[in-house]
């Protein structure tokens, strides 16, 4: 799942665990220093060795989320209540195809370059094109500042994105070439992977890459007996109930007109029936999204090649 809390917390330990800080009495801030032989990034302007997010020092720590009643943004629980989506194609002048998606506060951009010659000759496939995906988070996209250097989470997400998109793209039509999909998360407010899939498929379509169908993504968060669709960052990272039963997240990539699932990713612990119900909910969510994406694409096409009657 996108940046789940475990990873974020452990990467925070880079700047020193706060437990140690709070128990130390003789120094204002207790930082851990590392032996200096550690390789440093000399291709960027360097700041201090370590720094900590102010959120670690909050006066009153944020409480747990309620597990019932309406959600923080007013949406409904246990219903296919997706956030309003704002989509647009063809924003980046330099790219072959591009798309921007905004769902709640989650903001993503995707650019598609290619098809072009493969970079490495030994990877050239004579029969089939190569699809490469790269998903990155802007350093300011999450509540905690991220590093410029791509972490394993980003690579993991890139791979999942790749797996969700590949079945939809007619790669056999692009022999010996590669198609690059770059996704940049500008603001992470949950359900990043799902929206990245949608955004990337839209950008691919905008680039005129032949596809069997659009790929739409939707995710849910199961929290005990209830679930939330299209969870926000806080909903993703904070669980309200104590029991670990049926706690987890699920992201589905779906080809709506073929009615096929191209990618499914789940984490946490869920019962079999909960999971199948979750998949069904996600598909429903995708169908809600479908007309919006279709409209945006139609608009982009109309703009690129206006029908002769208009001109």
């Amino acid at each position: 799942m996108p940046r789940n809390s475990g990873i974020i917390l452990s990467s925070r330990c880079v700047s020193g665990g706060d437990i140690e800080r709070r128990t130390s009495s003789h120094a204002a801030v207790w930082f851990i220093t590392f032996p200096c032989a550690m390789p440093t990034d000399n291709k960027r302007v360097r700041g201090p060795e370590v720094s900590q997010s102010p959120s670690l020092f909050l006066c009153e720590p944020a409480g747990a989320l309620p597990s019932h009643g309406p959600r923080a943004d007013g949406r409904q629980r246990d219903q296919v209540d997706v956030r309003p989506v704002f989509v647009r194609c063809g924003l980046v002048s330099q790219a072959k195809g591009s798309a921007y998606i905004e769902a709640g506060n989650t903001k993503l951009m995707c650019c598609v370059y290619g098809p072009r010659e493969t970079e490495r000759k030994d990877e050239t496939d004579m029969k089939c094109g190569r699809l490469t995906t790269d998903m990155r988070f802007a350093p300011f996209s999450c509540p905690e500042r991220g590093s410029w250097i791509q972490g394993s989470q980003d690579k993991d997400l890139s791979l999942m994105l790749h797996e969700s998109l590949q079945p939809a793209v007619c790669l056999h039509k692009y022999p010996r070439s590669q198609i690059e999909v770059n996704v940049m998360v500008l603001e992470n407010s949950g359900s990043v992977l799902a929206h990245a899939v949608t955004c990337a498929s839209l950008a691919l379509a905008d680039a005129g890459i032949e596809m069997y169908d659009l790929v739409l993504g939707c995710s849910i968060r199961q929290d005990g007996t209830s679930y939330v669709v299209d969870p926000t960052y806080t909903e993703e990272n904070r669980c309200s109930s104590v029991s670990s039963e049926n706690q987890g997240g699920l992201t589905v990539a779906f080809l709506p007109s073929l009615n096929q699932i191209s990618g499914l990713q789940s984490d946490g612990e869920m019962a079999e029936e909960t999971l199948t119900a979750g998949v069904r909910t996600c598909i429903e969510g995708c169908y809600k999204l479908y007309p919006v994406i279709q409209q945006a694409l139609a608009k982009a096409v109309r703009k690129a090649a206006p029908p002769p009657s208009e001109s």
Partner: protein
């Protein structure tokens, strides 16, 4: 036909326009592209701004974190600007560590901050020798169509003006952060840059596009503040320019500074009144 000419002989194509004192996109030689500014759009950042100069788009997000000041400068905080040119913004950039251009841009932004004293690092000190702020100014290009440096400086300045720091009190030796109480940064100067390209060793054009940049023989960036003082005159090599030509650029840069400062001020005010 024109498209073919443009692809085959890009230099001749541009020359034929410059002869007529205009440019392929219809601008005059000393005309900037439309500059659009949007501030505060990233809620996860402490300050943010999105700037578009023509097609070139740069987003700046500022994140403030707490750290110890250095032993050499116990009363100072840090500002860490970094420019990233991800492969997303143009096909000319490859994934991997920052390219030379990105590194040079990062250094340029760092130099502008230091030379102009837009923010005095003393303002970022919370307790001398113990605790201070570090402002990570991460600039990311989303669409590269030339004139990266101008877009970066505007984005940085607007984002800094938009930045709100929470109040920090030190009680019993540990800092306490109060998110409810925030304050803005004290912006001492308003440095704004103007970039120029030299064409065929003599013709000066303003605000070059990516295509114009690839055909240039020299590039020049002048940064001025509201008191008409120069903060940076950055010309990394290329064909030579006389003092007179430089003076022309400086005059244009001064006018540009006024224009942009007014834009930033107005947009910042519009946010305040809206709240």
């Amino acid at each position: 036909m024109a498209a073919g000419f443009k692809t085959a002989e890009p230099l001749e194509y541009h020359r034929s326009f410059l002869k007529e004192n205009c440019r392929p996109d219809g601008r005059e030689l000393s005309e900037f592209r439309t500059t659009t500014l949007n501030i505060g759009s990233i809620s996860t950042a402490d300050g943010s701004a999105l700037v578009k100069v023509g097609n070139t788009t740069v987003i700046c997000g500022i994140k403030a974190e707490l750290t110890n000041p250095t032993v050499e400068a116990p009363g100072k905080g840090y500002i860490v600007p970094n420019v990233d040119l991800p492969p997303l913004c143009s096909s000319r950039f490859r994934p991997g560590p920052p390219s030379e251009q990105a590194q040079a841009a990062s250094q340029f932004v760092a130099d502008v901050i230091e030379s102009s004293e837009v923010i005095q690092t003393e303002d970022l000190c919370i307790e001398r020798g113990k605790l201070c702020w570090v402002l990570y100014c991460d600039l990311m290009c989303l669409d590269y169509d030339g004139n990266l440096l101008d877009a970066c400086t505007i984005a940085l300045l607007a984002a800094l003006k938009n930045t709100k720091l929470p109040e920090v009190t030190i009680s019993t030796e540990t800092p306490e952060v109060n998110l409810a109480k925030t304050r803005g940064l004290h912006i001492h100067k308003h440095p704004v840059s103007a970039s120029f390209c030299v064409f065929d060793d003599s013709i000066l054009i303003v605000d070059p596009t990516a295509e114009e940049e690839s055909l240039k023989t020299a590039q020049l960036t002048v940064v001025t503040d509201e008191e008409d003082r120069l903060c940076t005159v950055h010309k990394p090599g290329g064909t030579s320019l006389s003092g007179e030509k430089l003076q022309e650029c400086i005059s244009r840069a001064t006018a540009r500074q006024r224009e942009i400062q007014k834009l930033i001020d107005k947009v910042t005010r519009s946010v305040k009144t809206a709240q």
